[in-house]
């Protein structure tokens, strides 16, 4: 039985050892998103975007005299409990100056409270639920558009440009997917369009033929999908297999080159997606980013660009602050300064949302995402 007593004391030591950290001068940036589990494929694009930004900053010499930037990564496996635990771990480490964090709105929302209480700047590259910035936390910033911006713009484009009058809406029952498609529905009906139906699917599911078979006789002009590219590519392919001709439109969650590969170029021809900011491909730094990302990690993911920008904004703010001082960084982010980035000029309003209200629409033409116009 004395084995048990020794095992217990071992755990006690390990627990405390994990707590304290090394003490040479370093600036830490935290990054947290789902790195394991079913959403790992999307979560890891955030890790890699931030990693690229940090590596490039360190390569160009010290951000601040004598300080290198270190990335601290914590997996929140899209669970609010673990996101709160990760936030508390970040804030309890004095060297962590800012956090690029959380993918799911359901994680970002409770974590934002922790960052606010501890006065640590947090920039989310992906949580688009409008409620989060309404909590009045001055430490919360967001580089991605909110659903209530992207949804209406997409509806406007669908109604006017595509001339769609009857649309069927599908969402993936996530905070992001549902929020986006609800906003789209509201705006589309406001413009006089007709929503034939609004059905949810389960994330991680593969077979949507029953739902699409039900949609076909309704012959919608357009199918709008609120969700991420894995499910969207399946919907597109299966719709074409059931020879449903209606084009598919989605939000920034489906704007990803993998969508075309998975759904096959022929099936995904004519798919539309809205995206924040001007056409990324046109900006020169974007080309370098894409090249650097692909050499290091492979295909650019849905939130690689966003997290890259979020990390760079944090790094620039730290440079401007002149010292690893959390409060200074928050003030710099808050005082309406514009930060150049591959998404265009990012500026935060008083609630922390990006003023970058331009939304561009992209279309798949012979195997490539092609910029159509800004809305």
């Amino acid at each position: 039985m004395n084995k048990t007593v020794s095992a217990l004391s071992l755990f006690a030591i390990l627990l405390f050892a994990a707590g304290c950290s090394k003490h040479d001068p370093v600036i830490r940036i935290g990054v947290s998103a789902p790195f394991t589990g079913d959403q790992a494929s999307v979560g890891l694009t955030i890790l890699r975007g931030t990693q690229l930004a940090v590596d490039q900053a360190n390569a160009q010499g010290d951000v601040l005299p004598g300080y290198k930037i270190e990335l601290v990564q914590i997996d929140d496996s899209h669970s609010p409990t673990q996101a709160v635990a990760a936030a508390k771990k970040f804030v309890s480490d004095p060297e962590v100056i800012g956090v690029v964090g959380h993918l799911n709105s359901s994680c970002t929302k409770p974590a934002a409270q922790i960052y606010h209480n501890a006065r640590v700047a947090q920039i989310t590259p992906a949580s688009t639920n409008p409620e989060i910035s309404k909590q009045g936390f001055d430490t919360f910033f967001r580089v991605c558009a909110t659903d209530d911006l992207q949804g209406p713009k997409a509806a406007q484009f669908a109604f006017n440009e595509l001339g769609a009058r009857k649309v069927f809406i599908i969402d993936d029952k996530t905070t992001y997917g549902k929020g986006l498609s609800d906003e789209f529905a509201k705006a589309f009906i406001a413009q006089g369009g007709q929503v034939l139906g609004h059905q949810g699917i389960t994330q991680g599911d593969k077979d949507f033929t029953p739902l699409l078979t039900k949609i076909r006789p309704m012959s919608p002009d357009l199918i709008f999908f609120g969700g991420l590219y894995p499910e969207c590519s399946l919907i597109i392919k299966q719709a074409r297999d059931l020879n449903i001709k209606a084009p598919v439109m989605g939000g920034d969650g489906i704007y990803d080159v993998t969508l075309i590969r998975l759904a096959t170029p022929s099936a995904s021809e004519g798919t539309y997606a809205t995206m924040i900011g001007a056409d990324v491909k046109a900006l020169p730094q974007a080309q370098e980013f894409v090249k650097a990302y692909e050499t290091k990690f492979g295909d650019v993911g849905s939130y690689s660009a966003y997290s890259y920008d979020a990390a760079n904004i944090l790094i620039q703010a730290i440079k401007l602050a002149g010292a690893p001082d959390r409060e200074k960084v928050i003030q710099i982010l808050k005082d309406g300064r514009t930060f150049p980035g591959i998404l265009g000029q990012t500026e935060f309003d008083d609630r922390g949302d990006t003023k970058n209200k331009i939304v561009s629409v992209f279309r798949v033409r012979n195997g490539q995402w092609e910029h159509v116009r800004t809305v």
Binding site: Q199, D205, D207
Partner: protein, 303 residues
Amino acid sequence: MELFVQQLINGLTIGTIYALIALGYTMVYGIIQLINFAHGEVFMVGAYIGLTAITFFGFVSGSTLPMAMLYLAVMLLISMAGSGLLGIVIDQIAYRPIRNSPRLVALISAIGVSFVLQNAVMLIYGPQDQGVPQIVPDIHFIFGDVTITLMQIMILAVSLVLMVFLNFLVQHTQLGRAMRATSQDHKMARLVGINVNWIISLTFFIGSAMAAVGGVLFGLYYHTVNFHDGYLAGLKAFTAAVLGGIGNIPGAMVGGVLIGLAEGLGAGYISSEWKNVFAFVILVLILLFKPTGLFGERVADRA
């Protein structure tokens, strides 16, 4: 009316894939009364092995039909062999040492194996969805409003052939008799000279190989594979095995098709949000009112 037929086809296609996986559950349960929780993961690994096989041979998509058939055959054989071996390895490492422990111990070990497999594949292949190249040419046969793709026909054909072969193997061959004997009573089987351990390994091999075929077809049909697919498909396939009567091979085949149809028609006519609920509701209902399933036999426990 065409709508109903189309939903039938959708349900049948996914149903046969569930059936192929369900066979593995039924055979393993029949032999050692173990619910092989990791069987869903073996199905997923089968899909990945098939995918690796094609990329290894550098397949060019869109080629002629006979070439496609050749590639498909190669893909199936390799993944059947690979998953089959994996099945045996899992049994030897995780189940054999605790063969005589209560089933709760084996169940926990099986859950551990499924975690290991899931995360191992994620670490090797990376977490994002893997695209599966289009081997079977993308031809649609349209009858009025009803369309059926060549891939769907391939799935039905391959599964049917395999199921008939398996039924023949189990019912009419010397090996099949040994398997059925072992499932009745290990001690007696040993007495009449059957190498029980070899039979158990063989059952794991065949069950895993069947699941691998399901995995390959699943990958080709949906064009994507993800390390997390095994969990849900595994649960549905287990429901199918229980519906048919756990331990009963024809039962697993029928059960798989029924679950596929229930999902297809349920999602089509009721609502796709509740799609996964239908399978679980059926599972709970069968176990409560007819635990032996449609074809299972009553296991009386004597005082």
